[in-house]
């Protein structure tokens, strides 16, 4: 049996409701440490809702109610008393559309460390900014214009800036919600290379509409349909030899 990484995130009987409408039904999903897990499925199947549970981003939505358990390193996070600020320090997120702050590139990266009290001095902050940008493979392109607005970069660069921003607070998990859907193929390729590099350090969960992307970047894939986790397994297995008929139909393009 092939050696599997430790389980980092564990969801048990996770149910999510948007008002009357139930968006997730009893999702039980384990995500492994220092691995990329891809979540696929047709639009509205609940895969984004699922990852937004991991950093409690659903709290922002008034009508959203989450029940069930999610554990990170065995600690329950779906707990009213949990401080979401420190949770989100550990679980970073990259969104579908690049959303840099309308501030300088430097300020975009240094904001997170500043509010968490990392990087007390200017030189420490400089170092964090440089390292984050290097890890996001953006340093070479922007090192001479750190004080220019982050919104002036190209779409692909903006998305890497957002990844750098997520890395800057030194998280353990990075959630990516269709990070390449607004990007052209070249920018997409760069982000995918980057994800490959990042998985050495971080646990990554990526929601994607592109099956090719799931195959390229992930080690594990989960298939969602209508709020239910239909099938989960090693990426190779899911795409070559799925157990479920519905997974088979989806990956071969028969619906979705």
């Amino acid at each position: 049996m092939e050696l599997m990484n430790n389980v980092k995130i564990k969801s048990k009987n996770l149910n999510v409701y948007y008002g009357e409408k139930q968006a997730l039904f009893d999702v039980n999903l384990d995500l492994n440490e220092k691995e990329v897990t891809a979540l696929i499925g047709p639009s509205g199947c609940g895969k984004s809702t699922f990852i937004r549970c991991i950093n409690r981003m659903n709290d922002v939505i008034d009508i959203c109610k989450v029940s069930g358990n999610i554990e990170i390193d065995g600690v329950e996070i779906n707990d009213k008393n949990l401080d979401v600020v420190s949770l989100r320090e550990r679980v970073g997120m990259v969104f579908q559309k690049p959303n840099p702050f309308p501030k300088s590139i430097y300020d975009n990266i240094s904001y997170g460390p500043k509010i968490h009290g990392k990087g007390e001095t200017k030189s420490e902050l400089d170092e964090i900014v440089e390292n984050s940008l290097k890890k996001a493979a953006l340093w070479e392109e922007v090192k001479d214009r750190l004080d220019e607005p982050g919104t002036g970069l190209s779409g692909g660069q903006q998305q890497r800036l957002c990844i750098a921003r997520a890395i800057s607070v030194n998280p353990e998990v990075i959630l990516m919600d269709e990070p390449c859907s607004a990007l052209d193929p070249i920018a997409t390729a760069k982000i995918e290379e980057l994800i490959d590099e990042l998985k050495k350090t971080y646990t990554i969960v990526i929601v994607t509409h592109s099956m090719a992307q799931a195959v390229r970047v992930s080690q594990k894939t989960g298939f969602f349909h209508l709020g239910k986790l239909i099938e989960v397994g090693k990426t190779e297995k899911i795409f070559k030899n799925p157990d479920n008929k519905m997974t088979q139909d989806y990956i071969t393009g028969r619906f979705g």
Binding site: R88, N99, P102, G112, T151
Partner: protein, 420 residues
């Protein structure tokens, strides 16, 4: 209908629409032009005043002052006699009636002007000096060409004898037109030639300042709370609807409210900028909250999510990211709200600012007038001099409003950040 006919019809419809649009703009501009022309043609002359050059002799005996008298002694001294003596020298009058007619050519404040000149230069005692003494309202209007001198004498306020003197003065160039500093620095007066908007300017300034200090923080905090923190439920919906309703409440209602609560119950001093400021703040509050909330709403949610995702608290995401981005819109909304408050008349009339106040207020709890109320007051006066002063005050008011609105647009364009 053939295809060509349909196409032609479509083009015609567009042409007609363009024509209607242009015509509307033309009409709107025409009315603005008429308004501006009317105000300018009536009001511009108020910025000049007519003065008559008079040789004043500071006679030691008449003044009963010694060289080196103290300021108090001078203030108490009687300048009436030397004033009359000096004014009568302008033209030879044959009898008492003619003397009276001659003195009527000058402002009733001639004595004060002569005293002031002396206070500025105390060495004048026993000396002669030429002073520009302000002419009376009638002469002022006559000199500016606003007074019909071809009326029969019994229907004119200026007698034939006075006209005769006037013509001689014009001939000898002793009558002049100067910049009207009284208009800016004096308070209200029954005599148009010395009436000014100084008191109204200071009153309006204090009122707007108090309005700003009260309304801005309350409106901004209320908008931030409602937009960012408040739960969306029936209570907040109800509050939202009522803020919109309050913005549409006629301003006179706020005046009545202030009359009842601020003046009758709390017994704040009436006719004061303090009460005016509070009343205007009440009125302006919903009018600032609405644009503030709109500019907060215009900040894309992705910015909030971005901040939350790196672990900012709700408070940090709002105050580090959303508020700075909404600030230009907030400021311009506030300025436009204040501009409306500056032009507001009805509530101020109700709280007693319509009183006749001569003194310029030195604190916000002194009785005072304000610019729009001054316009209202003067527009009711019969004297010709107040016609031009009314229009000139409107010009001042309009220029303040234009400056404020430009500032609002400038702030918005300069500091508004684009996020895409």
């Amino acid at each position: 209908m053939t295809k060509e006919q349909r196409l032609k019809k479509r083009h015609n419809a567009e042409k007609r629409f363009r024509f209607y649009g242009l015509a509307s703009i033309f009409f709107a501009l025409l009315f603005v032009l008429i308004l501006v022309h009317n105000i300018f043609s009536k009001g511009s002359s108020a910025f000049m005043k007519t003065a008559i050059n008079v040789e004043v002799f500071y006679d030691k005996d008449l003044l009963e002052l010694e060289p080196g008298s103290s300021e108090e002694e001078i203030l108490e001294a009687d300048f009436f006699d030397i004033t009359i003596e000096s004014l009568l020298k302008v033209y030879p009058a044959k009898n008492m009636d003619e003397e009276d007619a001659l003195i009527e050519l000058f402002t009733t404040d001639a004595e004060i002007e002569i005293k002031k000149a002396f206070l500025n230069n105390k060495n004048l005692i026993g000396k002669k000096i030429n002073l520009e003494i302000t002419a009376s309202d009638d002469i002022d209007q006559l000199h500016k060409g606003n007074y019909p001198r071809d009326l029969p004498e019994d229907r004119r306020r200026i007698s034939n004898f006075q006209l005769e003197i006037y013509d001689v003065l014009v001939e000898s160039k002793t009558i002049t037109k100067n910049f009207n500093n009284y208009f800016f620095k004096n308070g209200d007066s029954r005599d148009p030639e010395i009436a000014g908007i100084g008191g109204a300017l200071v009153g309006s300034f204090y009122s707007i300042l108090i309005c700003l200090l009260l309304a801005f923080p309350v409106a901004v905090l209320a908008s931030i709370y409602l937009e960012e923190f408040a739960p969306k439920n029936k209570i907040t919906d109800f509050i939202e609807i009522n803020i919109n309703n309050l913005a549409a409440v006629p301003s006179i209602v706020y005046g009545l409210l202030a009359l009842q609560i601020l003046l009758a119950t709390i017994q704040l001093p009436r006719s004061t900028p303090l009460v005016a400021g509070i009343t205007l703040a009440l009125m302006t509050l919903p009018r600032i909250i609405i644009p503030c909330r709109a500019s907060l709403k215009a900040v894309p949610p992705s910015i909030r999510e971005g901040a939350l995702a790196v672990g900012a608290s709700k408070f940090q995401s709002v105050f580090h990211h959303v508020v700075p981005l909404a600030l230009p819109g907030t400021l311009s909304g506030t300025i436009i709200g204040l501009a409306q408050a500056l032009g507001e008349t009805a509530p101020l009339i109700l709280i007693g600012m319509v009183a006749f106040v001569v003194d310029i207020p030195s604190t916000p709890i002194d009785p005072s007038s304000s610019l729009p109320v001054q316009v209202y007051l003067w527009s009711e006066s019969a004297e010709r001099g107040f016609v031009e002063k009314t229009s000139a005050t409107i010009m001042m008011l309009l220029s303040f409003l234009i400056v404020m609105n430009f500032l609002a647009v400038y702030l918005r364009q300069k500091f508004e950040k684009r996020w895409n």
